[in-house]
């Protein structure tokens, strides 16, 4: 168990590699109750959210979610998060555990010009993520909801393991799967029932370690690594969640400018050519000169390679280009490769 964003979390149960492989080939169950939830309602909810996020909230219909960023005026992210449209003038954000208070304070501050109702409802939710190719088969045993009807990035009210909640086809692993938001009172029971239902399918519990290696293979950003207040969304490769044409929002000017003149740095993926493992924060050199830093690096259990992401000058960001990473005093070689490192077979693209 480790301390993480103010929560005691398991790094692993049976082992990071075993848990990672389980999610890619069968299913894994994550307790992600540490994530934060912020509810925004009222006639000013949409204008507020349009102003403080990068993606186009107006495109959401009830039952639909989108990946987005809470924005600073300098074009960088306060946090990355999901926005779910629960109904007219009613939205639920799922935010990173370590940023929950910061996000809520920021939204509240921006809200002074809008007057929506915004509440930090994190204490009202437990959240479990069931991820992997067998997730739907397993979940079907404990719910009457028609699961094939829930498309990627859509959600519905559902009862699972006898507990009512919100069931979303979302996740942070790069696999098919679901995230279930529900009141904490029965969380142990839901956890145990899901594990029991999934046992014949090879479901095992999975912790933070596998959560990180899975999202890294899928090249999903982690706040504090690929995203921070000094990195614009375009630099992080998140132009696809920046709907510059939607109207005014925090950071739009900076993003428009960068679109025209270019960014200061670019996020690239790399693969080690030596057996070494590059880790978060290690310096990156190109042509003998320090040019950047690793944001996330690890051994990738499914791909069986050592991979990572780093920020380097845009002019150096050529596929196949060789880079040097300083690993505890010695230089190791890596090569720039396309992102994502892993894409699951038969993936349907999210709508909205």
């Amino acid at each position: 168990m480790v301390g993480f964003g103010g929560w005691e979390m398991p790094v692993e149960y049976s082992g990071i590699i075993e848990e990672h492989i389980a999610v890619r080939t069968r299913a894994g169950l994550f307790d992600v109750s540490h994530m934060g939830e912020i509810e925004v309602r009222g006639p000013a909810a949409l204008p507020l959210l349009q102003f403080v996020t990068s993606n186009d909230v107006a495109r959401l219909v009830t039952g639909q979610a989108q990946y987005t960023a809470l924005m600073y005026p300098q074009g960088s992210a306060v946090d990355d998060c999901l926005v779910h449209r629960l109904g007219d003038d009613h939205y639920l954000l799922c935010v990173n555990a370590s940023n929950t208070d910061k996000d809520f304070a920021w939204i509240s501050q921006q809200n002074s010009q809008f007057g929506a109702e915004a509440h930090n409802v994190s204490a009202n939710y437990s959240q479990l993520a069931l991820q992997g190719p067998r997730a739907e088969t397993i979940l079907a045993k404990v719910t009457r909801t028609e699961l094939p009807a829930i498309k990627y990035y859509w959600f519905t009210e559902a009862t699972c393991c006898g507990v009512a909640g919100l069931l979303a086809r979302t996740g942070y692993t790069g696999e098919d799967g679901f995230e279930f938001y529900f009141a904490p009172a029965e969380s142990e029971r839901v956890w145990n029932m899901l594990l029991e239902a999934g046992r014949p399918e090879g479901l095992i519990p999975a912790g933070l370690g596998a959560r990180n290696t899975l999202r890294l293979e899928a090249a999903y950003p982690l706040y504090g690594h690929e995203l921070d207040e000094d990195t614009t969304l375009l630099e992080a490769g998140l132009g696809w969640i920046c709907k510059l044409e939607k109207g005014e929002f925090l950071g739009r000017e900076v993003l428009l400018k960068q679109k025209a003149v270019g960014t200061r740095k670019k996020l690239v993926g790399f693969e080690m050519t030596d057996r070494n493992i590059a880790r978060d924060g290690y310096p990156v050199s190109i042509d003998g000169e320090l040019r950047g830093r690793v944001t996330s690096g690890s051994m990738a259990p499914f791909l069986k390679k050592n991979i990572g992401m780093a920020y380097i000058p845009p002019r150096d960001a050529e596929l196949g280009r060789e880079i040097q990473i300083e690993i505890r005093g010695r230089m190791a070689t890596a090569r720039i490769v396309p992102l994502p490192f892993y894409r699951r077979p038969n993936r349907t693209v999210a709508s909205g």
């Binding site: 790094v11 692993e12 082992g15 990071i16 590699i17 075993e18 370690g209 290696t213 057996r275 070494n276 493992i277 880790r279 690890s298 051994m299 259990p301 505890r328």
Partner: protein, 129 residues
């Protein structure tokens, strides 16, 4: 887990088995459990020298890099080449097949400050509180 009585142990969770003037060195079961899945090992070459209390290599798991410390001073006379291709042996056979290096001891008296199996087990119990 009962720790082999013929080994001596360090506070940094290495073990050493001394046969005449040569010590075989590895990491303990406790160490491999704490580290998790081991994926890479960096070791010295034969002929290199190691010094008691100083690091001679690293063991890397998915989540962390850990230095390994020499229990004794001496010259490296053998390095376990199996660990290059199968670092995961350290998780399954830490006291056995997955020894790290063998060292010709410079001064056998250095082993007097190391812990017996019984003392190491007590040390682990204490650290758990």
């Amino acid at each position: 887990m009962s720790y082999p009585p013929e080994f001596l142990y360090t506070k940094e969770h290495e073990w050493i088995r001394v046969d005449d003037a040569v010590g075989t060195i590895g990491i303990t079961h406790h160490a491999q459990k704490e580290l998790g899945d081991i994926v890479f090992v960096e070791l010295p070459k034969t002929g290199d020298h190691v010094a008691a209390g100083e690091t001679f290599g690293t063991v890397e798991s998915v989540k962390a890099v850990s230095d390994v410390y020499a229990p004794v001073t001496g010259e490296v006379v053998a390095v376990n080449s199996k660990l290059q291709d199968k670092p995961e042996l350290l998780n399954s056979e830490p006291h056995d097949e997955a020894w790290l290096i063998r060292v010709r001891l410079k001064d056998r008296r250095e082993t007097e400050s190391l812990m017996t199996a019984e003392q190491y087990e007590a040390y682990l119990q204490e650290a758990a509180h």
